[in-house]
Structure formats: C-alpha cells, structure tokens
Symmetry: C2
C-alpha cells in the first residue's frame, strides 16, 4: 500500500519496469522498509518489519528482491564481519547519501559518515581516474571502511 504520497507511481517503479520486473506488493513493502530504515538492516531485519504488516511475504522473497535491488544498484550490500549481509538504500532516503563507514572491531558498531574532508572527494575521483586508466577498469563504485576501536570500547580497556 505504501505509494509514497499521492503523485502517482513511486520513483523506482519506472526503473523496475524498465528492467522488465513486475511491481508486486512484496517489492513495494520491501522498498518502503528500506526507505524508512534508520540503520543497516539484515535480510532478517527486513523480513521481520515486512512480516509485521504483511505476514504472507516470505523470507525467500526478501532475499530475491534484495538481490535484484543490489544488481540494479538501488541498494548497497555490505559485509561488516558479523556473518550476515547488511543492506542500505542507495538513493531516495536521507540514509542514502553516499557515505563511508567507521567500524568498531570490538563491538561491531558501525558509524556512517558523510562529512568528508573537502579534498576527500576530489582525490577519490582523481584516484578512480588513475586506476581506471592504468588497469582499464571501469569503476562504478567504491567501498571505504575504517576499522578501529569506538569510543565506548576504548574506555572499557
């Protein structure tokens, strides 16, 4: 049921149809959950939220939909090292601004950060350009994660 607001079809409908995919209730609800997410969700997390409103939708559908979304580039899939993948919308929510991660190796807490140092983005582009040329690689995306000890874990040691 979540149709955004009232202005007709939601933003991703076009892209979905363009790829030959059908619009289903399951997919709408999953996108809706991802849009409203306020943290990095696992497939199971998403399943539980979806299940609360639509108990008929199974976990398999969650996995299948996420795979499509990741392949279409609408969703990012991350590995934070705890054995389950995490998903995050790539566009369309405030969560989806491009950002990097700070991961606590002790408690696995993950901090998003978007406040890049001014030069950071520029250098990133320069680096991508250099690599792209040198290795004849078409770079479409990047993953940058810093590991260490968070605030709280530092105190406990």
């Amino acid at each position: 049921m979540p149709r955004g607001n009232g202005q007709g079809p939601v933003w991703w409908h076009g892209r979905f149809k363009g790829c030959g995919y059908r619009i289903t209730v399951g997919r709408e609800v999953i996108l809706d959950v991802l849009t409203k997410a306020d943290r990095h969700l696992s497939a199971e997390d998403i399943y539980m939220k979806v299940h609360a409103a639509y108990p008929a939708i199974g976990l398999t559908t969650i996995y299948r939909t996420l795979e499509i979304l990741v392949n279409m580039g609408l969703v990012f899939k991350f590995d934070f090292g705890d054995g389950r993948a995490r998903y995050e919308l790539a566009e369309g929510s405030n969560r989806s601004t491009h950002h990097h991660h700070l991961i606590c190796t002790n408690c696995k807490r993950v901090v998003d950060y978007t406040d890049f140092i001014d030069d950071e983005i520029e250098l990133l582009h320069k680096t991508e350009k250099g690599l792209s040329d040198k290795y004849n690689f078409t770079i479409t995306n990047h993953l940058i994660q810093f590991y260490g000890l968070c605030d709280k874990c530092k105190k406990r040691k």
Copy 2:
C-alpha cells in the same frame, strides 16, 4: 618444517609466544603457505595446500589458526562477495605490502594495487585523523575497494 632459512626461529615465533600461543607444525605450515601465496586464498585453498604436504592437518585447524592470525593483525581477512572469506598476510611477504583492491563485479577478478597516487596516502592519514578526532574512534586499519568492470568483461558486453 619450513623454518625460514637458517637464522633460528622465524619472524612470527616471537609474536606468537608473546601472545601465549604455542608453536605447532600446523601453524608453521599455514604461515608458510600464506607467505608463499601469490593470490588471495580462501580457507579451503589454504587447507588444500597444507594438506598436500601434511595430510594430518584438518580444516578446523586452518580456520582456528586464521582466526588467531587475523586477531593478531598478522593476516587480513577480506570479503570479495563470493561467499567465502579470503586471507592475505599482513607482513612478511611481497604480497603483504599494504594495498587496495579493484574488484570486477562481473567475473569477481581482484586486482591488487599499491601504486597509490602521491597524495593518496597523505589524504588517507588526514582523513583518519579527522575521523579519529570527531568520532573519538581509534583507527587501526582501513579497507578500500573499487568496484567495476574489468578489462575483459568490458569487451564482452
């Protein structure tokens, strides 16, 4: 049996004992395989190489040893998205110079690169410093991966 060359105990023996770990044949062989590796090895890859010379050593030991090595920071554990972890020595081989990765999202090929743009390292340090201060995070490591289409996969499309 691989004892490096002849100059007494191998470089990592001290660190192992320092952490209260015992030096065992299994651990020696695993480190030896990692030292000689010419690519990113999975636990199973390592097991097969180890098994060729020492059939008595089990896969469980490989996993257990790798976990210790990763925790000690002697080995890096990576996720390249194919469902199995990859391991790479952090010091002691030519493979172990700090480097970043270029990953083909189509064929999963992984290119190591160490030829950082001059500014890259400096900016990385600046960024780490900034994040460290702002989030009160002690940064010990980073992971940088660029995703895209490799040379060969580009041609096929």
